[in-house]
Amino acid sequence: TVCHICTGEENWVDSRTIYIGHKEPPSGTEAFIQQRFPDNRIVSSKYTFWNFVPKNMFEQFRRVANFYFLIIFLVQLIIDTPTSPITSGLPLFFVITVTAIKQGYEDWLRHKADNSVNQCPIHVVQHGKVVRKQSRKLRVGDVVFMKENETFPCDLILLSSSRDDGTCFVTTASLDGESSHKTYYAVQDTKAYNTEKEVDSIHATIECEQPQPDLYKFVGRINVYMDNEPVARPLGSENLLLRGATLKNTEYIYAVAIYTGMETKMALNYQSKTQKRSAVEKSMNAYLVVYLCILISKALINTVLKYAWQADPNRDEPWYNDRTEPERQRHIVVRAFTDFLAFMVLFNYIIPVSMYVTVEMQKFLGSYFIMWDDEMFDEEMGERAVVNTSDLNEELGQVEYVFTDKTGTLTENNMEFIECCVDGHVYVPDVICNGQVMPGATTMDMIDTSPGPGAREHEELFFRALCLCHTVQVKEEETVDGIKHGIHQGKSTSFYISSSPDEVALVEGMKRLGFTYLRLKDSHMEILNREDEIERFQLLEVLTFDSVRRRMSVIVRSSTGELYLFCKGADSAIFPRVVSGKVEQIKARVEHNAVEDLRFISLLVIDRNPVYYNQHACPFWSNYSAGFKGIINTSQPVQEEAELNTSLCFPDPSPHDRLQEKAADTIESLHKAGMKVWVLTGDKMETAAATCYASKLFRRNTQILELTTKRTEEQSLHDVLFDLSRTVLRQHGGMTRDSFSGLSGDCTDYGLIIDGATLSAVMRPAQEDSNSGNYKEIFLEICRNCSAVLCCRMAPLQKAQIVKLIKASKEHPITLAIGDGANDVSMILEAHVGIGIMGKEGRQAVRNSDYAIPKFKHLKKMLLVHGHYYYIRISELVQYFFYKNVCFIFPQFLYQFFCGFSQQPLYDTAYLTLYNISFTSLPILLYSLIEQHIHMDILRRDPSLYRDIAKNSLLRWPIFIYWTVLGVYDAIVMFFGVYFLFDNTTFTSNGQMFGNWTFGTLVFTVLVFTVTFKLALDTHYWTWINHFVIWGSLIFFVVFSLLWGGIIWPFLNYQRMYYVFMQMLSSGPAWLSIILLITASLLPDVLKKVICRTLWPTTTERIQVGACSYMLSRIFFRIASVIEL
């Protein structure tokens, strides 16, 4: 059923044909056109020495902001503009250079790495000899000779290995972090060829798909020509050695290159990762567009007014102010356009280049606080939080949906074998006495407590089956030769390694029940049974576990010649295939255990006689894997396999998985914070539901809605969906949104359970008949009203689909996906924020995530504290930046009305350049790094505070408009305040007059102080750093102004600022007006703050006051106690 989805995903790409050793196939076979393949050169570097400057410049100027500043700079160079090109050229040059140096350095590192990879020597078989070659010269079809501990230079098909069984062990630690050894298999027909001469004589072609990025998927076929008769063999991912993996525990192998260079799966994987952008960045860009419009309209208005005003020639060119001759002769249109550009240049500071730099710095530096956080350090693992991208810090404060994996994320993924049930008898390993298995006494489902002899036979077969049906490897201690075979003496010098902890748990559980799996040798599996005898089973076929079939199978031949097919998998995958046995009892037990939060692996044992295997199974088996073109859809062999079985017994081992520490507390907090938590798991419904109850995702009063196959079998999907939506909507229809936002205890909570099969039915695109309708919408409507959703039986791709569905719903909520395994990667990449847990299932999730944390519980601090802070900080940063530039530029705009629209700048060049770079940059940067509007303990204690910032609430348009209006107001107060002060009078005590530069400097002084004080008013957390930076930058401004005006600067061609600042300060009214204008500018903001806080306080503000008065009362209490003493 699950495969409905898979079929859609399967895009058959064009295939390629490879001649092993470049030998043409014998004539008569299909004529293939030899394709051209790239060589094995890896180019991860972007630039060469020659193209660095142009290409890097091109890349950098592709960013809209940089391009904009470049245009402004060029305009300044070309036309006669009010401000010198230095004012915008210098900051731009600085930004571009720093970025270029950083990127150049990174690229240089890449070049070095590329060279070392490309030039590393590898051994290739040519004409029966092993030849050394540089890695980059490797071509598709070359036969490569690899030794132990070498890393594969490209994707290879294993031909033969030093091991007799044609296997080799590989670790993919550098690919996905899984350090366990994985077994790969040589092609059966070539595994005997294990000298270079023999290998050279192989005559074969490989047909396979064109390279695809999926690391775990590969289909192909090898045609081996034996005496010109082609023998076709299937190739799967178990034959494919990936570039980047390392050969282990195997002396040497021969393999043939099939994907080289940039076509290797690893290379393809790295190209496809896209960059995520945060919601804040999106609103920032929207604001930018608004400001760009403001800028253009300002310039347009001024240009139009200029020409209207200049219509009178005596205004245009009074006798005292003649144009130069060339200027006079310029065409009016050219002049108007130049004027427009000049206005643009004059006002361009409204979009400051420094904002981008500050935002980048804030994100980069800010992310260190996550890494530094002591509370997100896990002592056990010795791991701390990792930030892979700092672009999304603030997105952590905006999460609305949390999609979490269950196993390894909510739970420990620490598997332990608890019990098993054979034919209805429950066995608990802990109750073993002297090797005797005692059936568990606690079970009520047991039919007969004393298993008869037949049962014992079943039981032993079952235990053997568990010992055989797995892909566990035995890792032996290689150090001391004496204990190399320690496992035979029953010592624990060796341990089991597997990619799945369930398997290890099962094999170890069997060890405690008396059956010890020893090793796989010469394709024989050895088991030490209860009588300490070694039993040998020949391993004929292994069909490894995959997420679609959700089971694995082996075929073994016992020493007596009997053939067995063992199949192990999730119970839902097994039960439908069961033909006989006590199905009902076992199902009952499974369900009973599900509530106890155990995980099931059911086992199907199929007994076959050799004849049957040879006649039926064998051809089927080879069919299955041989026809790689036809049978990619795995549903087909599954069905055939099911037909094969006549089952013997249906045992049910249940490994137990413990909930992670504080997982329930974390989920509860997330709920209170208004987030909807969805659990997406591949597990069965009952287990998953039990975990959900244990982790408080579902509470006792949660009404569970089921949308599962069971229900849709009874009713049509259509009816079920409408039923559910009616239930949910009736409840919420009567309530307002507000009352729902209260704590979840007040009203009925809904929890939804949906399984993979039903989900795929819901997601199926609407059919043409109107009846089916659009289920997605109804489903989303139901989900919106459920506080918790559990999706079980999910395939990895479905996880991503769910995330995508929610992402695309009409509110466009911010999603977060958290998981630990490779199966979570797709959803981690899909969600807005992807978080990896450093769990046991390798590091793939961590590698692909945006942030990685050691444990699930750390999510709480990550979101509620760090996310909240970052959001507050960056939203203030963005708003403040726009505000301070409105304040900065609007007076210049107003001044145009008083200077004949001549683009005369109000401020001096130095002020124009340094305003954003040094006078007002550091306070906001430091604010955006260390502001804490509420103490972090309160944030953690009261998760509902998170709701205050939900939905990007601090960057909504009304707030943006408020800031802009405030900026305009401040600008008007500053400009006209100074205007009326200057109005046709003097304000010095010696009667001397001030000029236009004093006017500008006075406005600028008020501006710098106002803008800095505004930030000071917004600062809630005054550390010594804030004091230092805020007062420091004001002092810097004063000192700079004194210096700038105190000296005749020899390198300047103008001395307009000479003594302007000092003369200004020598006047009393200037001081008075500075104080007055600052007060008047700040007044509305203070008033708004106080009134809003008093009349309509947000939760945050209430808490702040509470915290404040709490602190005060503590201080008073202490003082009082001191006085009493």
């Binding site: 890896i42 890449r110 790495a113 990879v117 690893m266 290379a267 790295y270 005596n314 009074p318 006798w319 005292y320 102010n321 530094w372 002591d374 350090f377 010795g382 701390r384 008083f898 200077c899 001549s902 005369q904 804490q932 305040g977 009326f980 002060l981 109005d983 046709n984 009078t985 003097t986 010095t988 005590s989 010696n990 009667g991 007059m993 000029g995 236009n996 006017f999 008013l1017 809630h1020 957390y1021 005054w1022 550390t1023 005749i1048 061609n1053 103008y1054 000479y1058 003594y1059 003369q1063 009214p1069 007060t1079 008047a1080 007044l1083 008033l1087 106080v1090 806080r1093 008093t1094 009349l1095 306080p1097 702040q1104 006051v1105």
Partner: protein, 370 residues
């Protein structure tokens, strides 16, 4: 990307490991430092703007600002100012003919005199300004049309003025000194003031022309090339600005120290005004040592040598007499603004007090159940 980026990442890891804790195990080096800064637990002052805390500030601001405003307003009102528009725009004006018949080429100066009466005596020092209206000294083309190096006495700039001075850079093949539009349009009306005493005799009032420019401008920013010794030689091979009647070294025949670039009238003019209506300090009438007012009430005559045309651009010319207080000339704005802001603060303080009383209790009671 790819393999190399893995390498880079691993390298990073090693770096941080090595730098944090040389030689110690990887596990230990990963533990973050427990410093107040890194854990974001720096001691901090956490002020909050509530009605309670802001209230006193509002009252205090109100209580401080209102008296200051009243003081400023009173001071401003006590300043005496008298203004005469002598543009000659109207046919009845004394200077109508001079304005009408103005020509750049006329060699004979046009004279006119405007009588006026001061109702009240002007005590202490009286400052005499000329004012221009609709004169865009702050026009960009105008503002930049100067060469500060030349004005600072730089010899090379004297001979080769900056390009910014165009089209007032050279005349008759010689560099203009001082170059540029600002210098070229130097205000060159001469104003003289006569007191007509009860007998009808005209007494010239002594006008001091020292101290009208900034000290730093006069002594540092503006310098004559080659010192003040022989200006005629220093300005050899330069041409006077086209609209000037006399060369720069001959601006003030009465005082050789007041010639060349350091002529104070010139310096005052070179400080471009911020707004199109402006006034510039022209002369100072020093207080008399005796108790008699500097300008007693009575009849006066303003004698004008009309050289400066403003009619073409609808300009206005004024002569202003003003006394000066510590806060400068007559400007009620600052006082009114202080009173307004102070009153607003006080009023808001009262409003906030009401709000505070009314709602704070409500909030507190609402807080208790939660």
């Amino acid at each position: 990307m790819m393999a190399s980026s893995y390498n880079a990442k691993e390298e990073d890891g090693h770096h941080s490991g090595a730098s944090n804790n040389g030689g110690a195990g990887v596990v230990k080096s990963k533990k973050p430092d427990n410093t107040a800064f890194k854990q974001q637990r720096l001691p901090a002052w956490q002020p909050i703007l509530t009605a309670g805390t802001v209230l006193p500030a509002f009252f205090v601001i109100g209580l401080i600002f209102i008296p200051i405003g009243i003081g400023l307003y009173v001071t401003s009102n006590n300043i005496k100012e008298y203004e005469i528009d002598y543009t000659g725009a109207d046919i009845n004006d004394a200077c109508y003919n001079c304005a009408k018949n103005f020509s750049w080429n006329s060699t004979t100066p046009c004279l006119c005199s405007v009588p006026f009466t001061l109702e009240q005596p002007f005590e202490s020092n009286v400052f005499m300004y000329y004012g221009l209206s609709n004169f865009y000294q702050n026009h960009r083309r105008y503002v930049k049309s100067r060469d500060d190096s030349q004005l600072n006495g730089d010899r090379s700039a004297l001979k080769n003025p900056s390009k910014e001075c165009e089209p007032y850079r050279t005349s008759e093949g010689k560099p203009i000194a001082p170059c540029g539009a600002i210098a070229n349009s130097l205000f060159n009306d001469t104003l003289e003031l006569y007191h007509i005493d009860s007998n009808g005799t005209r007494n010239a009032i002594p006008l001091v022309k020292k101290g009208i420019a900034w000290w730093t401008d006069k002594h540092v920013k503006f310098r004559n090339p080659g010192g003040n010794s022989n200006l005629t030689v220093a300005f050899q091979d330069t041409s006077k600005p086209v609209n000037w009647r006399k060369p720069v070294f001959d601006l003030d025949p009465s005082d050789p120290e007041n010639n060349g670039f350091i002529n104070e009238d010139f310096i005052v003019w070179m400080r471009t005004a911020a707004l199109p209506t402006f006034r510039k300090l022209y002369r100072i009438i020093q207080k008399k040592p005796s108790t008699t007012p500097t300008l007693p009430s009575g009849k006066y005559v303003l004698e004008i040598t009309y050289n400066y045309p403003v009619r073409s651009f609808d300009g206005r010319k004024r002569m202003i007499l003003s006394t000066i207080s510590w806060m400068g000339g007559k400007n009620p704005f600052l006082g009114i603004a202080y009173i307004t802001v102070g009153s607003i603060c006080f009023f808001l303080g009262v409003v906030l007090l009401i709000i505070h009383h009314k709602y704070d209790t409500r909030n507190n009671s609402a807080d208790i159940p939660s």
